[in-house]
């Protein structure tokens, strides 16, 4: 990897990404064995800096770091009394003083991870664990890993696959990172959403756009359902949950329209009954549990490569 940080899926070349997927696979095999822990990052300190609640993502990073024998500090900055602006800088300087080697940051503001990396506040490697409505690159990596595992295990990349990403694209960091990464890996992405939940400017993304889920389902290999926040209804992005669900929810009828080999994904946490019905989430086509499991392996690979498992060039800025 040419970057010292992982802020965006754009930081990864196709080769970088494939290498991470391969490393993750290797690490997964090892930690599936009797000795779950590797000594690779012994003596390194990884800080989980979470300004937003996300127990799932935090635990995933924490598990990954611990399996590589790193020391882990969980720093939950949510609800801190300092003003929002100052707290990122102040916290960063505190972590610098504590000797953090890597900071895994989750923040409600788009660009917070990049600010942390670009600022002089801290020298540590920065890993973006979700910034506002911008990106969540490790989620995209674990999604690519899961897709490859199920549909392209013996091929070099994801060429020829058609992936639907369905739902609140406008506010989704998962969608942004996936669009970038899946394209690099050769997949074709179609975004399916009501027009209110697609950003102005999406026409420049390397994707197809559709408002009609039923039309797209029979031809796709992967359908990735995004979480829909309840408050979007209050902001009139759609009239009612029922109408959303009718147009864009995955249910057993729609599940039956999928190709036999197709898989169903969701980054979690799910709103069962809204964007995905309970039976769809638990169907044999669903690989949602694999996504969670693969998250740990991917995050191990990212930490491993960024913190010294592989030669890393200096960042150009």
């Amino acid at each position: 990897m040419k970057s010292a940080h992982l802020l965006s899926a754009e930081d990864l070349s196709k080769d970088d990404a494939l290498k991470l997927l391969a490393t993750a696979k290797e690490l997964a095999t090892i930690t599936d064995g009797p000795n779950k822990k590797l000594p690779t990052l012994r003596g390194k300190t990884v800080v989980n800096l979470f300004f937003e609640d996300s127990t799932r993502t935090r635990i995933s990073f924490e598990t990954a770091a611990k399996r590589l024998s790193a020391d882990v500090i969980n720093f939950s900055a949510k609800g801190s009394s300092v003003s929002k602006g100052e707290s990122l800088k102040d916290t960063a300087q505190t972590l610098q003083a504590m000797g953090a080697d890597a900071v895994v940051i989750r923040h409600g503001s788009s660009g917070a991870a990049q600010r942390l990396a670009d600022s002089k506040w801290i020298q540590a490697t920065v890993i973006n664990a979700g910034d506002g409505t911008h990106e969540h690159p490790t989620q995209a990596l674990l999604d690519a890993f899961t897709i490859k595992q199920h549909l392209r295990a013996n091929e070099s990349d994801l060429s020829g696959l058609k992936v639907l990403i369905v739902g609140d694209i406008l506010h989704s960091r998962v969608a942004r990172s996936n669009v970038i990464l899946l394209n690099k890996l050769g997949a074709r992405v179609t975004l399916v959403a009501p027009p209110t939940l697609l950003p102005v400017g999406v026409e420049k993304w390397p994707v197809e756009i559709s408002y009609d889920l039923d039309k797209e389902l029979p031809q796709c290999d992967v359908v990735m359902m995004l979480r829909i926040q309840q408050e979007r209804m209050a902001d009139s992005f759609f009239p009612t949950e029922r109408e959303y669900s009718r147009g864009y929810g995955l249910n057993s009828y729609r599940l039956a329209q999928l190709q036999k080999s197709a898989i169903v994904m969701h980054p979690g946490p799910m709103n069962r009954g809204l964007e995905i019905s309970a039976d769809s989430a638990d169907d044999v086509k669903s690989v949602i549990i694999d996504q969670v499991k693969n998250g740990v392996a991917i995050r191990m690979a990212v930490l491993y490569q960024l913190l010294g498992g592989a030669p890393i060039g200096a960042r150009n800025d």
Binding site: K84, L88, S109, S110, A112, R115, T133, V200, G201
Partner: protein, 434 residues
């Protein structure tokens, strides 16, 4: 008595000038190589001092980021002999008392004219007119009224304000931003915002208000000034209004003439400004509009902010950029060097026309005998590199840091006094030395 030799006026003629008792005492033709008496103007352009109709001075309320004094010093350093203090201070400039306080602070700084702008509505709340009459009749003689920072969004309040200021030959300066379309907006809505995931501030939110207010102005036969136009569509609407003889004027900021929204890509809040940086297409339309005179003037929207309001993540940062000290150079770069405008045009857009719009009688005057001596001398061939640490402003939030820009101001004469001499302010105040 100040003497000035061999300077060039914007029409190309060479002159020797004598200034006494605050006015131009004599002006005679020069060969360009006459014996130098007083200030050597050789190779430099002499023009009326610049006039800004959109300046945030932060006093009262945020004296840590700018005061009337430091704002005045910043103005002189940028070649301005008159500035207009926006009303969004704390307390808001919505009473005769506050505008008179700012007016007096300007007088006591004494190095340029400081004209307070009055709020349109009480506390900038948008729903109740401020005491416009009292401000107009105060010693500050306020003529421009603006809720800048906020839009006068309620169409009925806007209509009333436009009607009410007619008594005083006043003008409403509108910050055109439809509030519902820009809730929590962070940057221009478009290709860049879609990619980097910041909430969009669409062009239509500006244009919808411009269109509405043009029609209201026509209906009640008043005067409207559009602050900081940023979109190609806005330029079109104003062109349309002018063709119909509607009394609308408009301004553009230097930063909107030069910078575009792709600079936001790295989330550096130095580029966070309201209205936001737009696209290349908008920048080109703004330049064209300014060249044609559809956009009448350049105004700085000088918006000082203390360091902590910019040294943070994008969403928590304040909107606004410094402008006074780099405005002339940015306009030379974007409009004169590109051959879109002449120096005569520049002088019209940055001095003569803003003074006319605001009714600042001693400013923006032709350089003739008997005219008030508010003048600047500029070396058009020299350049300088912006350094945020060397600005006279109390704040450092310039987006032009490290940029090399054309045009160096060497001397500024305000009311017959040399307030900048050979590039240095002559009046050094105690506050400067801390």
């Amino acid at each position: 008595m100040i003497k000035l030799s061999n300077a060039k006026l914007v029409d190309g003629s060479l002159v020797n000038v004598e200034i006494d008792q605050g006015v131009i005492k004599s002006i005679v033709k020069s060969s360009g190589k006459d014996k130098v008496e007083g200030i050597d103007g050789s190779g430099k352009i002499l023009m009326p001092g610049l006039v800004d109709l959109h300046t945030h001075l932060r006093e009262p309320g945020r004296e840590d980021s700018e005061t009337v004094l430091t704002g005045s010093q910043s103005a002189v350093n940028g070649g301005y002999t008159a500035i207009s203090a926006m009303a969004n201070t704390n307390p808001v400039a919505d009473t005769a008392g506050v505008v008179e306080q700012i007016f007096r602070l300007g007088k006591s700084a004494g190095i340029c004219d400081v004209y307070p702008i009055g709020a349109v509505t009480k506390g900038l709340n948008g729903d109740q007119l401020a005491e416009i009459g009292a401000m107009a009749e105060s010693i500050a003689r306020v003529r421009i009224f603006s809720d800048d920072g906020n839009c006068v969004a309620d169409p009925l309040i806007m209509r009333r304000a436009l009607e009410y200021v007619k008594t005083y030959d006043g003008i409403i300066a509108q910050h055109a931003q439809e509030p519902k379309l820009t809730i929590n907006a962070q940057m221009n809505e478009g290709i860049v915002s879609a990619r980097i995931g910041l909430k969009g501030w669409p062009a239509v939110a500006e244009e919808a208000i411009i269109a509405r207010d043009i029609l209201l102005t026509d209906h009640v036969q008043s005067r409207l000034h559009i602050c900081h136009v940023t979109t190609a569509g806005g330029v079109e609407l104003i062109r349309w209004a002018k063709q119909r003889g509607i009394a609308v004027t408009a301004e553009v900021t230097p930063h909107h003439l030069l910078l575009t929204d792709d600079l936001v890509e790295n989330y550096d809040p130095i580029y966070k400004v309201n209205p936001p940086l737009r696209t290349e297409r908008d920048v080109m339309a703004l330049r064209q509009g300014l060249a044609e005179g559809v956009i009448d003037i350049v105004a700085t929207d000088h918006a000082p902010h203390s360091a902590e309001l910019k040294d943070c993540e994008w969403q928590s940062a304040a909107f606004g950029m410094l402008g006074l000290e780099s405005a002339l150079s940015v306009v030379i770069k974007t409009m004169v060097e590109t051959k879109l405008m002449t120096w005569e045009d520049l002088s019209a857009r940055m001095s003569i026309r803003p003074a006319q719009i605001a009714g600042y009688e001693n400013q923006g005057r032709q350089i003739i005998e008997g005219a008030p001596a508010n003048l600047i001398l500029v070396d058009p061939n020299a350049s300088w590199t912006v350094n945020r640490d060397n600005l006279k402003s109390k704040s450092r939030n310039t987006p032009f840091h490290q940029m090399q820009l054309p045009g160096v101001i060497s001397d500024v004469i305000y009311s017959g006094n040399l307030v900048m001499k050979s590039g240095k302010l002559t009046v050094v105040n105690a506050e400067l030395n801390d």
